[in-house]
């Protein structure tokens, strides 16, 4: 049940020699070679709030289990950005077209991943954001 993620970084001119980095990983459970076996699927939301909204709520049972998060700002406007926070701490900003792929430890129930369309106004239009979570066993049903 293998899920793989491949990252390719390319540039012909950011340095004196070309940059070409390709890394492939298999998504596995924490500390093992067993494959991750659960996913939220690919989701899409339209942000129109300058305040933080919970994109993925942390689950205490997920504490230090393996989870991987993919988030992409699908806006075609390079100036519109989404601020990504974990546990209320800003990690970075995804400008139009930017994505992230990060591990997520869910260290406690405050470790939510939140997003905000920080420079959104009623005239900018919504910011479409797509995201997916890949994770191992946590009893999400108890929180349903």
């Amino acid at each position: 049940m293998a899920t793989t993620a491949q990252l390719t970084l390319n540039s012909g001119d950011i340095a004196g020699d070309p940059v070409s980095v390709t890394k492939l990983m298999t998504l596995t459970k924490a500390g093992t070679t067993n494959d991750l076996d659960q996913s939220s699927g690919l989701n899409r939301v339209h942000l129109r709030s300058t305040t933080n909204k919970v994109l993925l709520g942390a689950n205490a049972e997920g504490n230090d289990l393996a989870a991987k998060v993919y988030i992409i700002n699908k806006s075609e406007d390079a100036s519109l950005y989404v601020t990504v926070t974990i546990n209320a701490q800003t990690i970075g900003k995804l400008y139009g077209g930017d994505f992230l792929f990060i591990p997520w430890s869910q260290t406690d129930t405050d470790a939510d991943i939140e997003v905000a369309a920080t420079n959104w106004t009623s005239s900018t239009g919504d910011i479409p954001v797509e995201y997916a979570l890949f994770h191992e066993d946590t009893d999400f049903l108890t929180n349903a």
Binding site: T3, S11, A66, G92, Y95, S105
Partner: protein, 135 residues
């Protein structure tokens, strides 16, 4: 202006009842513009001697509140070994052996000292990294 791209391909034939094939490609640009990033720290490796927390990138060394991008990879081949990644003291997650991460980084040094710190789970581990900077 340099042109640097990052492409992610997610694939699975059996995680779901239908195949998963997702591809995203981003051109790395400066904050709020279509101008390509022009700075990089280059591809580097850090061998950690013990399980002490290390500052990999200090926010004060880079322009505040910009569109920096960070690539990290745990080169260990021992499945149980991981690096814990923190941004501004907040735990993001663990990259286990063979795992990589790619994330935006604001390098905020005014409101919070937004350093990127890593903590290895064992001695003598090696982290591969690359930083693309918005100067």
């Amino acid at each position: 202006m340099a042109t640097t791209t990052a492409q992610l391909v997610l694939t699975s034939t059996d995680l779901l009842s239908d195949s998963l094939s997702l591809s995203a490609i981003a051109t790395l640009t400066t904050a709020g513009s279509a101008t390509g990033l022009t700075g990089t720290e280059g591809l580097g490796r850090k061998k950690t001697a013990n399980t002490t927390e290390y500052t990999l990138f200090a926010a004060a060394d880079y322009t505040d509140d910009k569109a920096h991008k960070v690539y990290l990879k745990n080169l260990s081949t021992t499945a149980a070994e991981y690096f814990e990644i923190q941004v501004a003291g907040t735990v993001v997650g663990r990259i286990y052996a063979g795992d990589w991460a790619f994330l935006p980084w604001s390098a905020d040094s005014t409101g919070t000292n937004c350093d990127i710190d890593i903590t290895p789970s064992a001695s003598n581990m090696t982290l591969e990294y690359m930083l693309f900077t918005d100067e």
